[in-house]
């Protein structure tokens, strides 16, 4: 009986009847994985697979990427433009022409009545680079408001700011290949297995070939922390104390790379003076890492042939995120670990095209890392676009996190949100709700009609998503990669590119500036603008066909450059983007401005990502094989703390902070310390009802991960009802 049957049983395994594979880059995080979309003979996307020939992912994909092709037809997609007079009325379907006309009229009306900057635009890190560039042209060149930013302020602004302060320019100097060369890797507030599984795999592959120390700084025992050789369970918000103490040891013991420092940096004397105050004995009581360990880690890092640091939101989302980034850069400059294989400061970026928006959207400046504050830059761009340079403001306007308070107090009356969902993603939800209510005119442009922010929209633009469009992403390691158009837009939705082009036609300058019909033509404009002596962000050598053939090319890749390989690393020659080419050592003094736990609110509130979800779940919340792994929010809590409060595993509790409350299901685990709770940030009406989000003084990024809460009992039935009601998807 065991081996077979008298009658053969059929073996049926689903077959993928793919007739064509279309090349694409993943539209979730910034790892930049190459995906091939499988189309059947009817042109329908039926499957996908990682591209085995792509250097980034080498055929691997994470759960989100593996299932990404299911999102094209997922529930909640916007099917047609919608309009209404007031947000509490019902939406009425409208034609694109009508919706676009009305929007242009309202923008002009608000600008005429209250001034040019009274209409704000907040975009995203999710669009394609050509779309960002076009949006920048529209906002900076036609609409002319200076209150224009991206939601990258919530995730990468601190990295941008820190890079600019240290190196004179944005742009991560390292790459994934550095894992293959490093002798010591230090991860600050970065949980690769959960947030960037494919980057984790690259690291794991490197470590399987060659063992090197992995040091993880994280208050939670994440999977990465568990795999670390040394885990530093730091007190929240004290990373600069740790780094300063490490530098204290390095200088005291003469482990610094003085030759490099003297040749390539400014501010050495000031830094040395500052870190005098950060001896490990004092520091250990602030950062929670004992002095022996601080010394050990400092020596390990400094003595490594090549050492690198990576970080993510644990650094960026804090009150001193920009300082934290600069301080990591300090550490690497001090140890001579910039621009060499295995020695780098590599910010692990969040959104798929956070880099693209930083480079080309003109949010915080002008295209190609140009600055509004620089007259020459204004002139270059104005000339290229064919408009008067006086149309540009001479200084950057408000960041996203300042735009909302300006709405609250009436300086800004109209807002256009592109692929971002502040109702879930911004700190202090109740304040955002109140703010959005005050808008005279809100346009929401999103692939999903059920995006929570749409509750307050006056006009809704249904946008197409990912491979319904064509264009590029730039990933964490500066690799520009292509997404080919694989299928037509869903229902009546349109590509963001098309929407920007159509809106531009409704403004005066829209007829002066060229708005090409295809993404590739826009890309060619960007290539032109990227040329210039000493510019690192140079993509002039790239074409769509080359990008597809190479499966992504890292910038700089200059016109005339042979082959298909860009530059893996920046600053290999020790020349930085500062006026004199030297990097700046930034003095970072510890300022304790966090809302710390006290007797009334005894727990640290920490938030972060889970692997199966992306951002506010508008996409992954509808894909069952992603969503089922966390269909509802939960909170990690230490069992010892729970026992003292009589809280049971998998029961509901109510959390209260000085901003508001949230109901959440408890998961008891020793992964978090006794005085901390952790909640994934993806869920609407949950963790951000509690967060304070103090702003970083340089980057204006909110400190999502540090505030204080207390835990209250709650009626289980009532809590369950609330929890279910708050999950529309």
């Amino acid at each position: 009986m065991l081996f077979g049957r008298k009658k053969r049983k059929p073996i049926s395994i689903p077959q993928k009847q793919v007739t064509e594979w279309k090349y694409s880059t993943c539209n979730y995080c910034s790892t930049g994985c190459s995906i091939e979309l499988g189309l059947n003979d009817k042109g329908k996307v039926i499957t996908s697979r990682g591209h085995a020939g792509a250097d980034v992912n080498r055929g691997k994909l994470c759960i989100k990427g593996l299932l990404e092709h299911e999102l094209f037809n997922s529930s909640g997609r916007g099917t047609q433009p919608l309009m209404r007079e007031r947000f509490h009325e019902a939406f009425v379907p409208a034609s694109w022409d009508k919706a676009l006309d009305h929007t242009a009229d309202k923008i002009k009306e608000i600008q005429n009545q209250y001034g040019r900057d009274s209409f704000a635009v907040v975009s995203t890190g999710q669009l394609l680079t050509e779309e960002f560039y076009t949006l920048g042209k529209l906002v900076r060149g036609c609409i002319g408001t200076n209150n224009y930013d991206g939601n990258t302020t919530l995730c990468m602004a601190s990295a941008v700011s820190g890079y600019k302060r240290s190196f004179g320019s944005d742009g991560p100097p390292g790459c994934y290949d550095d894992f293959e060369h490093t002798d010591c890797l230090m991860a600050f507030g970065s949980n690769l297995p959960e947030q960037h599984p494919i980057i984790y795999w690259r690291l794991k592959e490197a470590r399987e070939k060659r063992s090197f120390p992995l040091i993880v700084v994280d208050p939670r025992v994440t999977m990465l922390a568990q795999f670390a050789d040394i885990h530093l369970p730091i007190t929240p918000g004290t990373d600069c104390v740790l780094i300063n103490a490490m530098m204290h040891v390095i200088f005291k013991e003469g482990l610094e790379d003085r030759t490099y420092l003297e040749a390539h940096t400014h501010g050495l004397a000031e830094l040395e003076e500052l870190i005098n105050d950060y001896d490990p004995i004092t520091a250990q009581h602030i950062c929670g890492i004992d002095e022996d360990t601080i010394r050990h880690v400092a020596r390990l890092y400094a003595n490594a042939g090549a050492a690198m640091s990576i970080w993510t939101m644990g650094i960026n989302q804090s009150t001193h995120g920009s300082d934290g980034v600069s301080n990591i850069n300090n550490l690497n400059l001090v140890t001579g670990n910039i621009g060499k294989p295995g020695g780098t400061s590599l910010s692990i970026t969040g959104q798929c095209n956070a880099m693209g928006t930083r480079e080309w959207s003109s949010c915080s400046g002008l295209p190609g890392y140009r600055l509004l504050e620089n007259p020459q830059h204004r002139q270059e761009v104005a000339d290229y676009w064919g408009i008067d340079q006086a149309f540009f403001p001479e200084k950057r306007g408000l960041a996203e996190t300042d735009i909302f308070p300006a709405i609250e107090t009436g300086q800004i009356k109209g807002l256009w949100l592109v692929a971002t969902n502040p109702m879930t993603s911004m700190p202090n939800t109740s304040r955002i709700r109140k703010t959005l209510e005050k808008l005279e005119f809100l346009v929401v442009q999103d692939s999903y009609q059920d995006v929570e922010t749409n509750q307050y929209a006056h006009v809704y633009f249904p946008a197409s998503v990912w491979a319904e469009k064509e264009g590029c992403h730039t990933n964490t390691e500066r690799r520009v990669n292509l997404t080919r158009n694989a299928l037509p837009p869903y229902a009546e939705s349109k590509s963001d590119f098309w929407i920007f082009n159509q809106l531009a036609k409704r403004f005066e300058n829209g007829h002066v500036i060229s708005f090409p019909e295809t993404a590739e033509e826009a890309f060619n404009e960007m290539r032109e603008l990227s040329k210039g002596d000493g510019r690192i962000l140079d993509i002039s050598g790239m074409t769509y066909d080359k990008l597809e053939e190479a499966k992504g090319i890292q910038w700089p890749f200059r016109e005339g450059q042979m082959g298909l390989k860009g530059h893996s690393r920046l600053y290999t020659d020790g020349q930085f983007q500062t006026p004199d080419g030297k990097a700046n050592l930034i003095c970072v003094d510890f300022v304790d401005n966090n809302e710390r736990p006290d007797e009334h609110y005894p727990f640290w509130m920490n938030s972060g990502r889970v692997v199966e979800h992306f951002h506010t779940r508008t996409r992954t919340g509808k894909i069952g094989n992603c969503n089922k792994f966390s269909p509802t929010p939960y909170m990690e809590m230490n069992p010892d703390a729970a026992e003292a409060l009589g809280i049971e595993h998998q029961s509901y509790i109510r959390l209260a902070s000085r901003r508001g409350d949230a109901v959440v299901m408890v998961q008891l685990t020793q992964r978090v310390p006794r005085d901390m709770v952790f909640i994934p940030f993806h869920f609407h009406d949950c963790v951000n009802r509690l967060t304070l989000g103090l702003l970083d003084p340089y980057s204006r990024q909110p400190a999502f991960k540090q505030c204080a809460v207390r835990v209250e009992p709650v009626d289980q039935l009532e809590a369950a009802r609330l929890n279910a009601e708050r999950r529309a998807f």
């Binding site: 081996f3 077979g4 049983k9 395994i13 055929g59 759960i63 069952g624 094989n625 595993h649 992964r671």
Partner: protein
């Protein structure tokens, strides 16, 4: 350990490709485009080494001493190079190790719990959210920051001794000499779910929507192309690997048969090997609702914990509850089936055997007009039972397939026994009719008497019923369900046969005799004695079961903990009813009081016994905790699934929980 049956019935003939012609293969080859491809699965352009199977020198035997070469194992009764006809494609892979037992290799040290394996599997097999051939759960332990979490990714282990295959009544399972894959055909399956009971790893997946089981197919289409399964190829932590069993991959040093949380490999000899070198805390807990935790024993293996003082992982506290609504489950039809079949056999046995044994009152009853109606009642009860058991199937219209695996499946034998009982009983009724006074009054006595034929079928029904009940009991003696795997099941089934049969039979007989003015107290004594002995048998079984579960060190003890807490009050009610009944009924028998009140008391005893048996049987089904892998906080967490159904989250398909249907 059960012995291996290597006998081959399969003489599935035909030269690969003969019946489909060469054109098909040609087209398939051309379409795949890959070099050396046989057209079963398209190899990616620039595919990486990690995705390809290694060619290795295989060992002779596996850890359990079984031959790894499957042709050898089966004495070369099947040819090399036989086509598997995957999707009816006759192509044959060129893998030199094609006829060796393959298996997964899991480096528990490395799993990051990223769900890539699960997603790749679900994408390839087009599984909806509520089904998964592979799942990742975890155990955790330690104290912050010395905290360790160990993720476990688990699919089918294509066991040496596939209990699913043996248990399946429809013979939907085949273990192939190609790769040793245990494959199941959903189109043969009728959705009884028995394989999901016997599998210790929760590998077969019963889809309540489709009403059929499906499971991991080892990606044999990829294997035929020389590729590892999709889950392995997708692994991002370098945790999951696959190959000829016992082959330790490069960079790995161990091939253990167990890790914390993994059920005993002795049940099925699973084809999975582990590396787990990092030390773990001595105690590991589960995050799902199962009140099971694991403790390291002297040999370093992790066993489910029973601690006398702090029993198990007391997730549900110590408070006792009723939770009467939770007694209702998907297995409700089986509660009705088992109870009614047992009652019918008992009542029938009382009336038929009692008369055959020459007990005066029962002889008188047999001669009465009510004998045939009582037989019909028994027939109706067993018919109702079989109907309920059929309706329990995912695909009731395929019920006739339930006898296809008499050779191995207790389910088949149970079904056959009960069905033969019913048939014999039916014929007994038919041949008893000519002797029935009511019948002869209406149809005349012209047919003559068939007493001997009736007796023949009557006697046939007795062993059929008992064999049916015996295999009904065997069905639940499942190693992967320790709460059931105790002789208490037999005590309960046979006890209920006696007690409920005596109650229903005795009631009808006593009333019949009483109404016809005949002596009936002797019947009450006979039936009462049987009722008491049935209750006693059940009570003894329960007592020893309780004692065993309190002492045991497995999931059965966890079930018992739930029995004493979540259903604590209900459990005690059942026990009190049973105990009280035993005392009162014994006293009645001993005192021999004779009054109408006594009859009423017996009725009350019978009814409470019916209630207590029903509660007991419902508890039996809802309480069982299988030896499955640990779940995660939401996925594969029974507690969350129940909660999602309760609060309506399950109504959203993307939650991955199927709403209640029963």
């Amino acid at each position: 350990m059960s012995t291996l049956d290597t006998k081959i019935h399969n003489k599935y003939e035909g030269i690969p490709g003969d019946d489909l012609g060469t054109a098909y293969k040609g087209v398939a080859l051309e379409k795949s485009g890959a070099k050396g491809s046989v057209g079963l699965w398209e190899v990616r352009t620039e595919e990486r080494p990690y995705a390809f199977l290694r060619d290795v020198e295989a060992k002779e035997t596996n850890t359990y001493g079984q031959k790894i070469d499957l042709l050898d194992l089966t004495d070369h009764q099947l040819p090399e190079g036989r086509s598997m006809y995957i999707n009816e494609n006759p192509a044959v892979g060129e893998n030199p190790n094609r006829n060796k037992q393959h298996g997964f290799f899991f480096t528990a040290d490395n799993c990051i719990g990223c769900h890539a394996c699960e997603a790749a599997c679900s994408e390839k097999n087009e599984n909806p959210a509520h089904l998964a051939f592979r799942s990742v759960g975890y155990v955790e332990g330690g104290s912050y920051p010395d905290y360790k979490r160990m993720n476990i990714s688990m699919a089918c282990n294509h066991c040496d001794d596939p209990v699913c295959l043996k248990g399946c009544p429809t013979r939907a399972y085949t273990k192939h000499v190609e790769y040793g894959a245990v494959l199941q055909d959903p189109e043969t399956c009728f959705g009884c779910g028995y394989c999901t009971w016997v599998c210790p790893y929760n590998a077969p997946q019963l889809d309540p929507i489709k009403g059929q089981v499906s499971k991991c197919n080892m990606c044999v289409d990829r294997l035929e192309e020389g590729l590892k399964p999709a889950c392995v190829s997708a692994c991002v932590g370098n945790a999951l690997d696959f190959g000829v069993i016992e082959d330790i991959p490069e960079n790995r040093e161990q091939a253990k048969c167990s890790i914390p949380g993994f059920p005993s490999p002795e049940i099925t000899h699973p084809n999975i090997r582990f590396q787990q070198t990092r030390s773990m805390p001595e105690e590991m807990t589960r995050t799902d609702s199962m009140p099971v935790k694991y403790h390291r024993d002297e040999e370093g293996n992790y066993q489910p914990v029973v601690d006398r003082n702090k029993k198990l992982d007391q997730k549900k506290g110590k408070a006792k509850h009723w939770n009467l609504t939770r007694l209702s489950s998907r297995e409700n039809p089986l509660v009705l089936f088992t109870l009614s079949a047992q009652t019918a056999i008992g009542a029938y046995g009382l009336a038929f055997l009692g008369a055959e044994m020459g007990i005066d009152s029962l002889l008188r009853f047999q001669a009465s007009v009510m004998y045939v109606p009582l037989m019909m009642l028994c027939f109706g009860l067993v018919g109702f039972g079989l109907f309920m058991s059929t309706m329990h199937l995912g695909k009731p219209h395929r019920f006739y397939r339930g006898f296809n695996n008499l050779r191995h499946s207790p389910v088949c034998r149970e079904g056959l026994g009960i069905a033969v009982f019913m048939g014999a009983l039916g014929l007994h009724i038919v041949f008893s009719l000519p002797d029935n006074r009511l019948f002869t009054t209406v149809f005349g006595a012209g047919l003559g008497s068939f007493g001997a034929t009736a007796a023949f079928f009557g006697y046939l029904a007795i062993p059929a019923g008992l064999i049916g009940l015996y295999y009904m009991n065997r069905c639940y003696r499942i190693k992967a369900r320790p709460f059931w795997n105790h002789w208490q099941v037999a005590a309960s089934f046979f006890g209920n046969m006696l007690s409920l049969g005596a109650f229903i039979g005795g009631l009808v007989i006593a009333i019949t005799l009483a109404l016809s003015g005949e002596e009936y107290l002797s019947v009450v004594v006979v039936a009462g004695s049987i009722l008491v002995s049935g209750m006693a048998v059940e009570a003894i079984g329960l007592f020893f079961h309780n004692r065993a579960m309190n002492r045991e060190s497995h999931e059965g003890a966890a079930s018992h903990y739930i029995q004493c807490t979540t259903f604590g009050k209900t459990y005690y009610l059942r026990n009190c009813l049973l105990g009280l009944n035993l005392i009162v009924a014994s006293s009645l028998l001993l005192t021999g009081v004779d009054s109408v009140l006594v009859l009423l008391a017996w009725c009350l005893i019978g009814l409470t016994q019916l209630l207590s048996s029903t509660i007991g049987r419902a508890l039996f089904y809802v309480l069982v905790i299988p030896t499955t892998m640990p779940g995660a906080f939401f996925w594969k967490n029974k507690g969350f699934e129940a909660h999602a159904r309760d609060i309506g989250l399950a109504d959203m398909p993307q939650v991955g929980v199927v709403p209640d249907g029963h």
